[in-house]
């Protein structure tokens, strides 16, 4: 077959399976969590922590609170969705024997895996996009309110124009910035890595529960990847404990992504700028682990018997 036609036919099948996985998850009513998100978002408006700064900072804490709660909820929902949805789809198809009917059609196993994973990622992406729209909308309104209050205070006190401009820029930096959108995209990239990892685990696991627990554990361990890498480079090679420690550290460093890299989101909550270079680096890391885990999943799944 012509390589181009072959590639298009792979892409078409992957698209069909991805659309189907997305529909399947949507019809499981997963979008109900958006109502919880809305409640969290509205609640975050009332978390006006006691502040020790001057009156010029009044309201800024609320903007930070909205971002912090929203991005925290996005992280939670995206991680849970990525792991649970991925862990659910494969074993369910095997249990219901629907996998037999799919693999009995001219469907390569890599297409099936990639389709399922892309379907889950599509769901996570749409969910994050909807949450982002809600967050950006509320944050925009609240920023406008804080800005109006502060400008009124500055005018009443006859602040110099230079100081007013500085205050305005400080407040706007806490609002819906491009860096905030970059932070949401980083949440998506992290979910991509986690979903791909859950996919790999579900190819050899025998139950949804096992995949879910192991995936959460690996997600947790992934936050210590940087420490493992440091342990590998600082410990002396040799025998005994040092040897094993280095071995485990090497394994963790190679197989798991460094989830601490995604802590840039915290800086964005504080109103700092997310440099494009960092975002590019995170994108490449996300893409690398997506491809790495999909290939590893395929190697396991291609030999699997049903």
């Amino acid at each position: 077959m012509n390589p181009l036609i072959n590639m298009l036919s792979h892409a078409s099948r992957i698209g069909v399976i991805a659309r189907h996985a997305f529909t399947q998850l949507v019809r499981m009513k997963v979008f109900y969590f958006l109502a919880f998100f809305a409640v969290i978002l509205i609640g975050s408006n009332f978390f006006d922590l006691p502040q020790h700064e001057g009156p010029e900072s009044a309201g800024i804490n609320i903007l930070r609170s909205i971002k912090s709660w929203s991005l925290g909820a996005m992280t939670l929902f995206s991680v849970v969705l990525s792991i649970v949805a991925t862990a659910l789809l494969l074993p369910k198809d095997v249990e219901d024997r629907t996998l037999y009917t799919i693999l009995a059609k001219p469907v390569p196993r890599i297409d099936y895996l990639a389709g399922k994973l892309i379907g889950v990622l599509l769901l996570v992406f749409v969910s994050l996009a909807l949450m982002d729209v809600l967050m950006t909308g509320i944050l925009h309104l609240r920023t406008e309110m804080v800005l109006a209050d502060q400008m009124a205070v500055a005018e009443a006190r006859n602040w110099p124009a230079q100081d007013v401009a500085l205050l305005k820029s400080d407040i706007l930096a806490q609002g819906p910035t491009a860096s905030l959108q970059g932070a949401v995209f980083s949440v998506f990239l992290r979910a991509t890595i986690i979903a791909s990892m859950a996919m790999l685990i579900s190819t050899f696991s025998s139950s949804t529960l096992f995949t879910t627990i192991i995936s959460f554990l690996i997600y947790f361990v992934g936050h210590f990847q940087a420490d493992a890498r440091a342990a590998y480079f600082t410990h002396e090679a040799g025998t005994g404990d040092g040897f094993w420690l280095r071995g485990v550290a090497l394994l963790i460093s190679l197989v798991l992504p460094d989830f601490q890299l995604f802590n840039v989101i915290d800086a964005v909550i504080e109103g700092q700028v997310l440099p494009l270079l960092i975002l590019g680096k995170l994108t490449l890391i996300g893409l690398f682990y997506f491809v790495f885990y999909v290939i590893a999943s395929w190697l396991v799944f291609a030999r699997k018997e049903f």
């Binding site: 399976i17 189907h20 219901d96 024997r97 037999y100 799919i102 693999l103 009995a104 030999r303």
Partner: protein, 288 residues
């Protein structure tokens, strides 16, 4: 004249499964060979756990043979392109409950690369064939067992395959549903589609199949044309109409003199497939 390529060719198939507790692997299929020519309806029968489903799965590439080869229309069944010409209905299938019957068929059709008007026409045609036009927009989750089997058969036929593999197509289906599926198999045979099925319902196998294989404990114990297998050469069959039970008891003595009984046909009696199956499996059970 060159011989046609067999629709199914299984050569010396052996399949061992690793077991968790025993060191010795479990041999599910032991040196099974099957050859099905295009247009034939082949029935593979055997008790539970005899290796029927494993043989079918090996043919579909769902399990890899330990040794031996399987091919579909000359193509290695481990290769994806061999599945272009195959439709498969597994035992007790459950399709995606969130999809309607029509959506299910469209999903499988798209997987086979069928699109647009061609797909719509094909889905309509198949829904008519399996008599599910009225339930095409209902969610699969609300389908009865018989309806599930019929939509399963429709999905197996979506890409117009030349070979259909049916694993226990009437399992758990009531007699009416079972007859409907039997009628569908007849329709497939009329269309020249090769059918490879395994079933516990021996009477149905006898009705629809022209070739039969009996598999027992992983080994093929009897195989051939159904007509040849069930014919008993050293007996004579006496077929009567309106004969009372008393008359049957004395029939041989009376039949020449008694003109009230109508002699319909005299020929070679045949055992039923069920009797043959039980004889073949029981005798082997006793010897083991």
């Amino acid at each position: 004249m060159t011989e046609a390529t067999p629709a199914v060719e299984i050569r010396h198939l052996v399949k061992d499964f690793k077991t968790s507790f025993k060191r010795q692997p479990l041999r599910a299929v032991d040196d099974v060979s099957i050859r099905i020519m295009p247009g034939e309806v082949y029935g593979l029968i055997g008790p539970n756990g005899s290796g029927k489903s494993t043989t079918m799965k090996a043919l579909l590439g769902l399990v890899a043979p330990t040794s031996g080869e399987c091919s579909i229309f000359g193509k290695d069944s481990l290769k994806v392109d061999s599945r272009n010409e195959v439709g498969f209905l597994p035992e007790n299938p459950y399709f995606y409950k969130h999809l309607s019957g029509e959506e299910t068929l469209k999903f499988y059709g798209k997987l086979c690369g069928i699109k647009g008007a061609k797909l719509r026409d094909r889905v309509k045609e198949l829904l008519e064939l399996v008599d599910l036009e009225g339930a095409s927009h209902r969610r699969i989750g609300g389908y009865s067992k018989g309806m599930l089997q019929r939509i399963g058969l429709a999905q197996a036929l979506i890409q117009e395959p030349q070979l259909v593999i049916l694993d226990e197509p009437t399992a758990g289906v009531d007699p009416v549903g079972s007859r409907e599926i039997r009628d569908l198999i007849f329709k497939l045979r009329e269309r020249g589609i090769t059918v490879f099925l395994c079933s516990h319902l021996l009477e149905q196998v006898q009705e629809v199949c022209d070739h039969v294989g009996i598999i027992f404990r992983g080994k093929m114990v009897k195989e051939g044309r159904l007509e040849d297998l069930i014919a008993i050469e050293d007996q004579t069959e006496l077929v009567m109409k309106d004969a009372s039970p008393e008359l049957v008891a004395e029939i041989e003595a009376l039949i020449a003199k008694d003109g009230t009984a109508e002699h319909v046909r005299t020929g070679k009696p045949r055992t039923t497939l069920e009797r043959l199956f039980l004889r073949e499996t029981r005798s082997r059970e006793e010897t083991n």
